[in-house]
């Protein structure tokens, strides 16, 4: 659906002051998927997504949307390609002096939607985004989430093939973000609109994205299925970004005599039976200190912090048993008995 070939965006007219926001990015976004581009601010995500509808001309490279080259499109041709691509923004960008209905109608007008059908279409769209009662309200009287719904209605007004979301939930609270994500997911499924979503919020990636590209300093450093990105990040920077935000309080760690093990398990393998089995099979006491299970696109990734108590030999055997049955086992803390060195995995 969308293909980027060696796209670079360079800002600054003078050679010495050039800043490359996007460097040699090639991506292929498939029809019907929700593709996420994540990265810290300044990674070049915004510049990249703007090349997809020609708001930003790439300095080098080519961008194809639905088979058409948008890179060199101009005038009427460019406008026609843009009509296949809706876009929503972090700050909604609604016209403050037009009511909700008029804002959507304006989108229809721009795209030559037949005049006599416009008011009917406006009502349909408001129905889709769940704002049927707000047609005659001005944007100033809406909440952030409602404003973004209007922006979504406006963006999908004339059935685009692609919806670009530029930090679309970054100005919203957690609850509202969740609602907007559900709406986008519904639009993706029911209207079969391909979605490209850029964000610095990884929480969004976990529920919404089918595939993810991770950007850093203008470069796409990793691209994979969402689950793979979280389960097995290949790049150091990706690991840094998705670093499990699970930590043991340092007082707890320091008060412990024993080694602390960090277990990571993924997918089908469930960890609970393994813990019980290890307890049963070996003469050890397995203590769970902390843990969590996360679901990425419906598949679990679990992390547990455990200590083993018992004779050294039994402990080693239990460790081996666990290691054979989980995805990853690392020593989080060596314990006072042995090596006191820290090993923050």
């Amino acid at each position: 659906m969308i293909r980027l070939e060696n796209v670079s965006v360079v800002f600054g007219q003078k050679k010495e002051k050039e800043i490359a926001a996007v460097k040699d990015v090639s991506l292929h976004i498939r029809k019907g998927e929700i593709f996420g581009i994540v990265g810290t601010s300044g990674a070049g995500k915004s510049s990249l997504i703007r090349t997809l509808n020609g708001l930003q001309k790439p300095t080098h490279g080519k961008v194809f949307v639905d088979g058409e080259d948008i890179t060199n499109a101009r005038g009427k041709n460019l406008r026609n390609i843009r009509r296949k691509i809706g876009m929503i923004f972090q700050h909604f960008n609604l016209i403050s002096r037009k009511t909700v209905g008029k804002n959507i109608e304006f989108a229809l007008k721009i795209q030559n939607y037949p005049k006599e059908d416009r008011s009917k279409r406006v009502r349909e769209l408001l129905e889709i985004v769940g704002l049927s009662d707000k047609e005659n309200v001005y944007p100033a009287n809406l909440s952030g989430g409602q404003k973004q719904r209007v922006a979504i209605a406006r963006a999908i007004a004339v059935n685009p093939k692609v919806l670009l979301c530029d930090e679309a939930t970054s100005a919203l609270d957690v609850q509202t973000t969740e609602e907007i994500l559900q709406l986008l997911s519904k639009i993706n499924r029911e209207l079969n609109i391909t979605i490209v979503f850029i964000t610095h919020q990884l929480e969004i990636a976990k529920t919404l994205f089918d595939r993810i590209a991770v950007m850093s300093q203008g470069v796409v450093i990793e691209e994979n299925d969402t689950y793979q990105i979280f389960a097995a990040p290949a790049n150091e920077i990706t690991r840094g970004l998705i670093k499990d935000n699970i930590k043991l309080p340092s007082e707890i760690v320091e008060s412990l005599e024993n080694e602390i093990l960090k277990l990571v398990y993924k997918g089908e393998k469930s960890v609970e039976p393994i813990i019980s089995l290890a307890n049963k099979k070996f003469d050890v006491i397995l203590n769970i200190l902390h843990g969590k299970i996360e679901y990425i696109k419906g598949k679990p990734i679990g992390i547990l912090f455990v200590t083993l108590e018992g004779a050294q030999e039994e402990c080693d055997r239990a460790k081996q048993f666990i290691a054979d049955n989980v995805e990853e086992i690392t020593t989080y803390y060596h314990g006072k008995k042995g090596d006191t060195a820290w090993n923050i995995a």
């Binding site: 509808n53 708001l55 406008r79 026609n80 390609i81 843009r82 009509r83 691509i85 809706g86 876009m87 923004f89 700050h91 960008n93 609604l94 016209i95 403050s96 002096r97 037009k98 304006f106 989108a107 007008k109 721009i110 795209q111 001005y138 944007p139 100033a140 922006a151 406006r154 963006a155 007004a157 670009l164």
Partner: protein, 219 residues
């Protein structure tokens, strides 16, 4: 009694003259100044049709007009005036330089009003496949309207101020009345009356301009 009757008829005539001058200048400045302001804005915007040559040229001409003191502009434009209205005397003749000055004045203020419009709105319209026509009519003019009303208010008040100098070319008007009777003939009461009248008019315009602008603002 005789004196005040004469004065009243003079005041009526002068008010009419001021009204004619200001109305002509305002209406034309409203259209041409707005257009010029739009050109200035569009040719300076990265998102629209950035054109340094047109922008610099338009800006340069506006700056020239604005840097000439109005009294001088009145005299300088006499040949133009006689070509346009056929005479160089009277309120209609004075309306010509007044119009020229107010076009330049309003163009700059209008440009500033357009600058205030959130760039994101233009990006959004462009992303929807909008051409310049819809961006102007559906975004710029709509969003900038309250600010444009304020700019127009300031412009009208300036035009009234300028019109006081129209007496130089026999344009008449309230300001001219104040100068002729109040200043040259030492009739302080006449001067005071005209000044009070001008204060009331200017206040009324300012207050209603602000009211309309507030009414049109939706946030």
């Amino acid at each position: 009694m005789e004196h005040s009757l004469e004065f009243l008829s003079q005041l009526g005539k002068a008010s009419k003259e001021t009204l004619i001058m200001v109305a002509i200048a305002t209406v034309i400045a409203c259209v041409l100044g707005l257009l010029l302001g739009l050109i200035l804005y569009i040719t300076s915007s990265n998102l629209l049709y950035k054109n340094r040559i047109v922008n610099t040229l338009a800006g340069f001409i506006i700056n020239i007009i604005r840097s000439i003191p109005f009294v001088i502009l009145l005299v300088l434009l006499v040949p133009v005036t006689s070509k346009v209205v056929g005479t160089t005397i009277g309120p209609k003749a004075a309306a010509v330089p007044l119009t020229v000055a107010s076009i330049a004045f309003f163009a700059r203020l209008a440009e500033a009003s357009f600058e205030e419009v959130d760039k994101g709105l233009i990006e959004a319209a462009l992303a929807m496949g909008s051409g310049i026509k819809h961006i102007v009519s559906g975004v710029l003019l709509v969003e900038a309207l309250p600010s444009l009303i304020r700019a127009l208010t300031v412009t009208i008040i300036s035009i009234i101020g300028y019109s006081a100098m129209a007496g130089t070319v026999g344009g008449g008007g309230i300001g001219d009345l104040a100068v002729r009777f109040g200043y040259y003939r030492y009739q302080m009461d006449v001067m005071l009356t005209t000044v009070i009248l001008l204060i009331i008019v200017v206040q009324a315009i300012q207050v209603s301009g602000e009211k309309i602008a507030k009414l049109l603002t939706k946030n």
